[in-house]
Amino acid sequence: MTRVRLRFSKLGKVRFTSHRDVARMWERALRRVELPVVYSEGFSPRPRLHFGLALSTGHESLAEYVDVDLRDDTASTVDIGSLPAVLSSALPAGIDVTAAAAIPGGTPSLQHAVTSCSWRISVVGAAPAALYRAVERVLAAEELVTTRQRKGHDVTDDLRPLVVALAASVSHPTGPTGPARPTDDGTELTCELATQPRGLRPAELVALLGDGLTEGRVLRTHQWIQHDGARQEPLAAQATSAPHAEARAS
């Protein structure tokens, strides 16, 4: 069995589909391109796909990952370098495979390995000056203790350690910078949020910055694995890339 890791984008209209919907798109795409995917045992065999962290419905991403197991008897005939182009054509517009590589056996699963994600979040309802001040306040805080309801119990968390990096910017309202278009105010956050011990959601971060603020468009730009003090992406940067991806969506 050979495990192949694929990076893909989710941009434009297709961002309104759910994580489950995306899983089904992948199952169909893999059947269409007739890859020798390993199927699960049992009465209703399903292709063995291992997705990373779920992306909320409505959020966009440049950095989604899935691991696919291929049968060894035929894996040698699969040209991994061709997979991004082949799979992108079998997936809906807005979902493009941008990198592919075989990964060694024993590589930890995406769910376990990924420690943080980078995001671009447009913020609705924030005056630029106020947003800058709020960002400074969050960064300066020793701790940010919040209480939330979970399964009927109050859970108290310190969210400060989950905010790895945070910066605010104001873009030119006339010139959108990439898929996550800024709002009318043009205020946007660039941040890195931890996924362990628990994930901090973009909406939770925005709520930390002030009452009445809500997230506009949200784009995941990277997923990161912290390893021996160094930070790396689940797939090395040199893996095949598809620069047309952003242009193709919606």
Partner: protein, 652 residues
């Protein structure tokens, strides 16, 4: 024309299931608009996940987009959360393909699959920015069309819809496009002129071209054409050869979950089993089979293109398809499908032969099988001409349990003509016996009994029958519920008799019912097919306000002489054939399937100069269907495709 997408996009984060509104399905044609082309908006008046799989709309969208004089997009009823936002932000109904406003199309055409969606038709028109009444619309508005099974009695929607299509749509949508394109080229914008041009097309019914008169006692007197060229009776359209229409060629693959999320290949249209309650079987005659090779081809190319791992072979009774075993075996065993394709047969016949086919396709997962005996006693099944003998049912059930199935689902109707409590309770008796058979093979066999209230439909022998009252239907459901309460192994489910009553109000209504439908819609009665929105009182209050009664519309038996609201239309069936069949029903006389016996002259073949297209001249092997037909001719065909186990599982 401008897209509503920029205005819509920010709202989608605020609604449930936003993927309903984004389009982008694999297989969807890129619409190529041109001012000279007739632009159709094909609309399913219910949610996306119910409407998208509708094969009728998909077929018509493809046919229209292949034409040089037409272009088609699709739309669906927005759920109430988005509807509120659309109204708040003044965004109109839109197509999901390019998010074009509905009013920018030349034709808005609705599929009518069920009566309870009628108020959604009005809501969609209103969301599109159109006056809901056809008479209030002017030259700049799109024409409004409708088709589908419920269009066989179009009168309740006659005030709102400009034209109806009766029967198969494949050919007539092209003819309508040609006529409307010619009007465009000639600069004809006058609605009456355009309606008259449409009314001259066979199979197209334009209600505004007919005068309706009533008798002093309030009964319908006549529906008569207002112009000499308008036909006195509009005949439905029938596609003679399904092989010429291998559609959809590119079935849509939605990005989000929908009902029937699989490849569908229609194997035949029409049914001559002759079940007297079944409108679909009556109005889609004659039987026209698709050649088996074309079925295989459509399955193979469809699976390859879509990536689906399930295909449904659709028809009104797929086990009746000539050579069904061969087709099923080929699909299941095709090496290209990797042995992982499952086949579903949506309407199973009740016999062991059918179970054999089901065994062939459900090699691994034997979750459940569904049968529809429809009536609880042999007597009532003769009345409704669903000629299944008890031994047929028990044979099928035994065969299924012995081959590994554990769960059966049985469909029944209650409120049938001549029905007594013995017939109703017969449902419980059959279900119990099925569980007992199951106990021979399994520890905890389960039988789900699903009972619906019967609604008499136009163009069936039961069109004269007075529907059971709400109180009576409720009493019968409770009778069964109480009877089955202590039965372990039998689960009882029933369709809400209140919804059945409203279906009855709409099903056989005449043109005057339009005011009631509009009233219900104006009082917020949309999505009436959905339990969370359905409201019987809206309908009863609306009837009150318009001096109509459920007693007269629903519960009353019609007489032979009475002018029915659909008498000026024809689904091919002679009215005297239907009346004779109604008399036969009351006499408890069954009628054999005419595919394999002499013609009864129902009118469906002779009237249109078409014939049954059936590959095999002999009836399929297996259950007798109680007809007394000589099935010895089919004796060479094995009844069981899988070897039976010598010893039942669990028997010691």
């Amino acid at each position: 024309m401008e897209s509503v997408w920029p205005a819509l996009e920010p709202l989608l984060m605020q609604v449930q299931k936003p993927a309903r509104y984004i389009g982008g399905e694999d297989g969807a044609a890129v619409p190529r608009h041109h001012p000279a082309k007739v632009a159709w908006l094909l609309t399913y008046p219910d949610t996306y996940e119910i409407g998208l799989p509708n094969q009728g709309l998909q077929i018509l969208a493809e046919i229209l987009n292949e034409r040089s004089d037409a272009v088609a997009e699709r739309s669906y009823a927005p759920w109430s959360d988005l509807e509120a936002l659309l109204r708040e932000h003044a965004i109109p109904l839109f197509s999901v393909d390019t998010h074009r406003p509905a009013a920018a199309f030349d034709v808005i055409a609705f599929n009518l699959s069920a009566e309870l969606v009628y108020t959604n038709v009005l809501n969609c028109l209103h969301l599109a920015g159109l006056p809901v009444r056809a008479a209030d619309r002017h030259a700049g508005h799109p024409l409004v069309g409708a088709g589908g099974h419920c269009a066989s009695n179009p009168e309740p929607l006659a005030d709102f819809v400009d034209f109806f299509v009766l029967g198969d749509g494949e050919e007539v949508v092209g003819e309508i496009s040609a006529v409307l394109a010619a009007d465009k080229a000639a600069g004809t914008t006058d609605r009456e002129a355009r309606r008259r041009h449409l009314g001259a097309i066979p199979g197209v019914y334009v209600p505004a071209l007919y005068d309706v008169t009533y008798r002093a006692d309030g009964r319908l007197a006549a529906v008569t054409p207002r112009y000499p060229e308008v036909p006195e009776q509009v005949e439905k359209r029938t596609v003679a050869d399904l092989a010429e229409w291998p559609y959809p060629r590119r079935q849509l693959v939605p990005l989000t979950e929908v009902v029937h999320d699989r490849l569908n290949v229609e194997v035949f249209r029409g049914c001559t089993r002759g079940c007297r309650f079944c409108q679909a079987g009556m109005i889609t005659r004659p039987v026209r089979e698709r050649p088996a090779d074309q079925v295989r081809e459509m399955v193979a190319t469809g699976l390859r293109r879509t990536g689906y791992d399930e295909v449904s072979l659709t028809s009104l009774s797929t086990a009746d398809f000539s050579g069904i075993e061969g087709v099923v075996a080929d699909v299941v065993n095709d090496p290209a499908n990797g042995g992982r394709v499952s086949v579903s047969l949506p309407s199973l016949r009740v016999d062991a032969f059918t179970v054999g086919i089901a065994g062939e396709i459900q090699k691994g997962r034997r979750t459940g099988l569904t049968f529809a005996p429809e009536g609880g006693t042999w007597r009532i099944r003769q009345v409704i001409n669903k000629l299944i003998r008890e031994e047929d049912l028990y044979g099928a059930v035994e065969s299924a349990y012995s081959q590994g199935w554990r769960r059966m689902k049985l469909y029944f109707l209650t409120g049938l003509p001549t029905e007594t409590d013995e017939d109703t309770l017969g449902i419980a008796r059959l279900a119990r016996h099925c569980v007992e058979i199951g106990r021979k093979y399994h520890k905890n066999p389960s039988v789900t009994v699903s009972v619906g209230g019967f609604v008499p439909k136009p163009f069936t022998p039961f069109q004269w029958f007075g529907q059971n009252t709400l109180a009576e239907l409720t009493r019968k459901m409770h009778l069964l519920r109480d009877e089955l309460r202590r039965d372990r192994g039998v689960q009882f489910k029933w369709h809400d008799p209140k919804a059945t009553t409203v279906e009855g109000i709409v099903s056989r209504g005449d043109r005057r019912l339009g005011a009631v439908i509009e009233d219900v819609w104006r009082h917020g009665g949309t999505f009436q097919e959905w339990t969370e929105h359905f409201d019987l009182d809206l309908w009863l209050d609306a009837l009150d306000r318009h001096a109509m009664t459920v007693e007269d519309l629903v519960y009353r038996h019609r007489t032979e002489e009475e002018v029915l609201p659909w008498d000026h239309l024809s689904a091919g069936l002679h009215k005297d054939f239907l009346w004779q069949d109604w008399r036969d029903a009351l006499d408890e006389v069954g009628l054999e399937d005419c595919r394999w016996t002499p013609c009864y002259d129902c009118g469906a073949c002779t009237g249109y100069g078409v014939e049954h297209v059936v590959a095999s001249a002999v009836p399929p092997a297996g259950g007798s269907q109680g007809t007394g037909q000589d099935l010895a001719a089919a004796g060479e065909v094995p009844v069981t495709l899988l070897p039976r186990r010598a010893e039942p599982v669990g028997a010691r």
